[in-house]
């Protein structure tokens, strides 16, 4: 089975090619099902790989399949090879599993879309690139997928490239922004890869654990910080998270698949994958933990006050990714991957449910215009509540266990980190239910929208149900004290660090209290409008406007990064290049020509003859020199 890993890639590649070349003769439905079938095929292969790994003894669960030598120059060598191990198997399952559900959902969601051929081509291409990312056995191969998914993201964010609205501006600009901001992260990735090769002599993941011992701590720190920059780009962390809220311009299934469940977790995956490097640098790991936790808090504060449902979910995604990065920074890799998986379920669910709302409201997700939809869209409502509860960390749902694992790790690691994480958890619970109440409960705020709302077709609701089921039970993959996932990952990440029992119990208790209090708070604030809660929220009203504007981070970047660079470029292009450099060239030329004016008149004035005679002259001079010598 492990040898047929190529099938994992062949399915989406074939799907993409069929749609690219034959899609124009197929109906929307056929294209959608071809694309979905391709991903289903890949999922079955991934499941087969997973089962094959399970069948192996733990210490043999790392199989490299080499296809060809990719690049070789002297001592620099990179193979085109895949690594099948517990980590990549889990990632492949999530990517293809969630991916398949979202493909199916898209058939319903995109039923009025004229450019469905492109859409499903992009989607299959994305799956292919994402699989390359998670399966490659070396840095450079991973980077192929890394930028490949970036390209897919660019294409899908700007899918409606001729559309513009108040929320996003030109959709095409959102896609461009995503790609360029990610390139800033890639700058870090490229340098990190170069430094790794230059210092330890290999870029193959399985060779790194041996090789990294040669690494000086300071070098390891620089490498890891560069990797962190890469992760900050792809996984939307401080300081590069700004592209993700704009990425919501893409079709909602894309937001679910790429900008919630899979691609944006690539940074987290990368840190887990390169954990041997992070072990060499405590400072870099600390920085990662803090960047992650602060991102979680920052994004949660913004999510609190967004009025567009998708923006709430977008900032929530940034926030949850922050948790994962923080966990990875605290070397709680199992917890990071655990949250990655459960988040893939419940956030994909939330986005798809939001998409279902959009489908019913003709694209409107402004919560100021929604409300009361729960009777109109019972399935969407129920599944959304499941997703929100999982996100909020309501006990026994998947998100509760995975977030608790991270918070316990923080409590064990550094009390300050824990406090930030706990506050974030509280905000998370509040904004999750705020979204539920404002969208589905209360009085309809826009009669027209309400009247036209309808439940989505079953091709869309079935994926919702499946994801809702996974969001509820997903926690079983790594229950506290059982730690199936942590043990499964041991070949990759080493043994799980057990926190003291008292810390575990304290953490769980606090997690329960926080989630329940958050829920009650949200209910009091947004559903029942109770006095006590409003009084409690009173001191924070001054923060409302700046938080709504994302703390003006975008404006800051625009004023202090984009504008200056463009100004310099404009000065170069408008003045320095034509006037100074070219001016000097033409100045020299003019002097020469003036001097040659007399001579030039002797010529017949035709430039070609003039040029030719110069050439002949030089050849003559050359020959003269040669002969005389």
């Amino acid at each position: 089975m492990l040898d047929s890993v190529w099938l994992l890639f062949a399915f989406p590649a074939l799907g993409a090619l069929i749609i690219l070349f034959a899609g124009r003769w197929m109906s929307q439905k056929v294209v959608g099902w071809v694309a979905s079938a391709a991903v289903l095929g890949a999922f079955l292969v991934a499941a087969g790989l997973y089962l094959s790994l399970v069948g192996l003894p733990a210490e043999e669960r790392s199989v490299t399949v080499t296809w060809w030598d990719w690049m070789t120059i002297g001592s620099f060598h990179v193979p085109a090879a895949v690594l099948i191990d517990p980590l990549s198997a889990v990632m492949a399952l999530v990517v293809t599993g969630v991916g398949f559900l979202i493909h199916v959902y898209s058939i319903g969601y995109m039923d009025h879309e004229k450019r469905y051929q492109r859409y499903f081509f992009y989607l299959n291409f994305f799956i292919l690139a994402m699989l390359v990312l998670v399966m490659s056995n070396n840095f450079v191969g991973m980077f192929v997928g890394w930028e490949g998914v970036g390209l897919a993201s660019f294409l899908l964010i700007g899918f409606w490239f001729d559309k513009k609205d108040d929320l996003y501006g030109w959709y095409a600009d959102c896609g461009k922004k995503a790609f360029i901001v990610n390139r800033v992260g890639d700058f870090g990735m490229i340098l990190a890869m170069i430094m790794v090769w230059s210092t330890v002599g290999t870029l193959v993941f399985t060779e790194l654990p041996e090789a990294v011992h040669a690494l000086a701590p300071a070098t390891a720190t620089i490498i890891c910080l560069l990797l962190l920059l890469g992760a900050a780009g792809k996984s939307a962390q401080i300081p590069l998270y700004v592209w993700l809220p704009d990425a919501m311009a893409g079709p909602t299934p894309v937001s679910a698949l790429i900008h919630a469940a899979t691609m944006v977790t690539a940074g987290v995956y990368m840190i887990i994958r390169t954990n041997m490097l992070w072990h060499m640098s405590v400072p870099a790991s600390e920085v990662a933990a803090w960047i992650g936790m602060l991102t979680a808090l920052l994004a949660a504060t913004i999510a609190m006050v967004q009025t567009d449902l998708k923006k709430v979910l977008a900032y929530s995604t940034i926030s949850q990714l922050g948790y994962m990065v923080a966990a990875a920074g605290m070397a709680a890799y199992g917890a990071a991957l655990f949250h990655l998986v459960t988040h893939a379920f419940f956030k994909a669910l939330l986005f798809l449910a939001a998409g279902s709302v959009m489908h019913a409201t003709d694209g409107i997700l402004d919560m100021n215009r929604l409300g009361g939809l729960k009777t109109k869209m019972p399935t969407t409502y129920r599944t959304f509540v499941v997703g929100a509860a999982a996100l909020a960390g309501i006990p026994l749902l998947s998100g509760f266990f995975s977030k608790d694992a991270i918070l316990v790790a923080a409590l064990d690691h550094n009390i300050l980190l824990y406090v930030v994480g706990a506050v974030t958890a509280l905000l998370t619970a509040i904004y999750s239910f705020r979204a539920v109440f404002l969208t589905f409960h209360g009085e309809p705020k826009d009669k027209h929208i309400y009247d036209h709302a309808h439940e989505s077709p079953s091709v869309m609701t079935i994926p919702l149900w499946i994801l809702a089921f996974l969001s509820i039970v997903g926690g079983v993959i790594n229950l506290p004290f059982v730690l199936t996932l942590d043990h499964w990952l041991e070949p990759v990440i080493g043994e799980h660090h057990e926190a003291a029992l008292v810390i575990e119990l304290l953490g769980i208790t606090l997690s329960i209290v926080i989630a329940v209090f958050g829920f009650l708070m949200a209910r009091a604030l947004y559903l029942r409008h109770e006095k006590w809660a409003e009084r409690l929220a009173q001191p924070f009203t001054a923060l409302r406007s700046p938080a709504q504007h994302g703390w003006y981070v975008d404006d800051f970047y625009h004023a202090f990064v984009v504008k200056p660079i463009k100004a310099v470029g404009a000065w170069f292009a408008g003045f320095f290049d034509p006037k100074v450099i070219d001016g000097a060239v033409n100045g020299v030329g003019t002097v020469m020509l003036d001097a040659g004016e007399v001579v030039r008149k002797l010529q017949n004035g035709a430039i070609p003859t003039y040029a030719l005679s110069i050439f002949l002259g030089v050849v003559a001079v050359l020959l003269y020199f040669l002969f005389v010598a």
Binding site: V140, A172, V585
Partner: protein, 514 residues
């Protein structure tokens, strides 16, 4: 044992010249056009024999031809090809049929002389990459100027005469320096044999001056910042086929000159001036990209992007280690393909809309999806998307550069961000957004037809082949590069050994004087 074909290199070099003569002689525009195309195609097929009959793993020159040209001075007609020049020759013979076919479709004016000049140009370019004798190299190097001068000056845009003269005089000024340098080298070593020169110890003083002269000549050709201003003018004014060849092949004569001559023949001077050149290369990368970002004319955007891309090639060459140099050799090919393809795409659009201003477009993705999709692939190749060709070259160059001096690798990597920025900006303005001008909608703008796809698709396929299987190329490039580097190291050691006693003597004198 591969089959050896006598005079193969001469055949490849002079087939186009023969074709040029025939094109001038036959009557009828149609016959001229198709004869020219047939010539370039036959030349390409014949040049593929170099690949099929290649002796794997051999580092030295292959298919060598060597005849006395002018005995008293030891000037020889010597041709040979190794891993460094092989793919530049193939690049030339591959791009020429595309450029000629484009001209067949879109050039009407004075087709006979036009095609003859194109073919003449091909002979000159191939000759530059194959010549093993300095004088022969120089003759081909100069000969390439004339056809390009006429192509721009006669078939170019509005401001063509200015651009052509500037192109000619600027490059020519560089060449004048090269004449001097060649003579200096000859007087100090007594040979014009390039390979022999690479293994000759040349006195430091001679090295410095000769290196500077060569470096300046090649810097103009490459072009290296700040000698680049002829390039945008030439590109904007040149006919499309001229731009394809200019960017695709002609600029490589500069970087090839560095790699074959300036760097290995004068190793000590090269080492001394290396950091300075690397600074110019990095400035070129960032400056070229920033200026490209602000361009309104797509052609001049692509021209400035060339300044940036050639900066990478220069960095690899300057690094003078295996990764840097092999990466550079491949990147020369990559740049030729990607930028050639960009100019081709721009040309295809220009023939439809007769404008190249970014602001005149918008929404092409809705009206001409095939064109736009292919344009995006080409742009991504140019932006160094991994999986495509550009990445392999850029990444290995940055590896080599890091080994040389880390700071330059950091600057080069920053260029990667800007590359995405200007290319996506162009894409955004051209292809995305709404259709504002009716001339851009699908009823007025036709998507690519089969004839046009025949030109674009082979290029795009090569992007993938190189991006995914670069070892097909590195296997042939590496041995020659490593041999050159070994020779260079040996020469440097010999030179230090020679200078050592003198230095020690000087030290003794100094201490005694005290």
């Amino acid at each position: 044992m591969a089959l050896s074909i006598p005079y193969l290199l001469s055949i490849i070099t002079f087939l186009p010249l023969l074709g040029a003569v025939v094109v001038m002689l036959v009557p009828g525009d149609g016959a001229k056009k198709w004869l020219a195309l047939a010539t370039t195609l036959i030349t390409f097929v014949v040049s593929l024999l170099l690949w099929t009959n290649w002796q794997e793993g051999q580092a030295g020159m292959q298919f060598v031809e060597d005849a006395v040209w002018f005995a008293p001075l030891g000037i020889r007609y010597a041709l040979g090809v190794d891993g460094i020049s092989l793919f530049l020759v193939l690049l030339t013979t591959f791009l020429m049929p595309i450029a000629v076919y484009f001209s067949i479709l879109y050039v009407d004016k004075k087709i006979g002389p036009y095609m003859a000049l194109m073919l003449l140009l091909e002979t000159a370019m191939i000759g530059v990459f194959l010549a093993l004798d300095l004088v022969l190299f120089f003759v081909f190097f100069e000969a390439s100027l004339i056809p390009m001068y006429f192509l721009i000056g006669e078939w170019g845009g509005k401001n063509r005469v200015y651009a052509a003269v500037k192109f000619f005089l600027y490059t020519f000024a560089g060449s004048a320096l090269m004449v001097v340098a060649i003579l200096i080298v000859y007087y100090s070593t007594g040979t014009f044999d390039i390979m022999k020169l690479q293994s000759t110890v040349i006195p430091p003083a001679v090295q410095t001056w000769a290196f500077l002269a060569f470096a300046l000549a090649f810097a103009v050709k490459t072009p290296l910042f700040p000698f680049h201003t002829w390039l945008p003018d030439a590109h904007v004014q040149a006919p499309t086929a001229g731009s394809i060849i200019l960017a695709g092949v002609l600029l490589k004569m500069g970087t090839y000159g560095y790699l074959r001559l300036a760097m290995p023949v004068f190793p000590q001077a090269a080492e001394q001036f290396g950091p300075l050149l690397a600074i110019l290369a990095c400035v070129g990368i960032l400056y070229g990209a920033l200026v490209a970002l602000m361009q309104k004319d797509i052609k001049s955007l692509v021209a400035y992007s060339s300044v940036a891309h050639l900066g990478y090639v220069m960095l690899g060459v300057i690094a003078m280690n295996a990764q840097g140099v092999s990466g550079s050799v491949l990147q020369m090919v990559n740049h030729g393909l990607s930028t050639g393809a960009l100019f081709l795409m721009v040309g295809l659009l220009y023939e439809r809309r007769h404008t190249r201003m970014l602001d005149d477009f918008g929404g092409l993705w809705a009206s001409v999806p095939v064109y736009t999709g292919l344009f995006l692939v080409v742009a991504m190749s140019s932006a160094g998307l991994p999986g495509l060709n550009g990445f392999v070259g850029e990444f290995t160059i940055m590896l080599g550069t890091y080994e040389y001096m880390p700071i330059f690798a950091v600057l080069a990597a920053a260029g990667v961000i800007l590359a995405a920025w200007y290319l996506l900006t162009a894409f955004r303005k051209m292809a995305q957004g709404p259709i504002t001008n009716p001339a851009n909608d699908s009823s007025n703008l036709k998507d690519l037809n089969i004839k046009e796809l025949i030109m674009v698709v082979p290029l795009v396929l090569l992007f993938f082949v190189i991006g995914l299987f670069p070892n097909l190329f590195f296997d042939k490039i590496n041995p020659s590069v490593e041999a050159m580097l070994e020779t260079r190291t040996a020469v440097m050691q010999a030179a230090t050994a020679e200078q050592m006693p003198a230095l020690q003597l000087a030290e003794i004198v100094v201490t005694e004087a005290k």
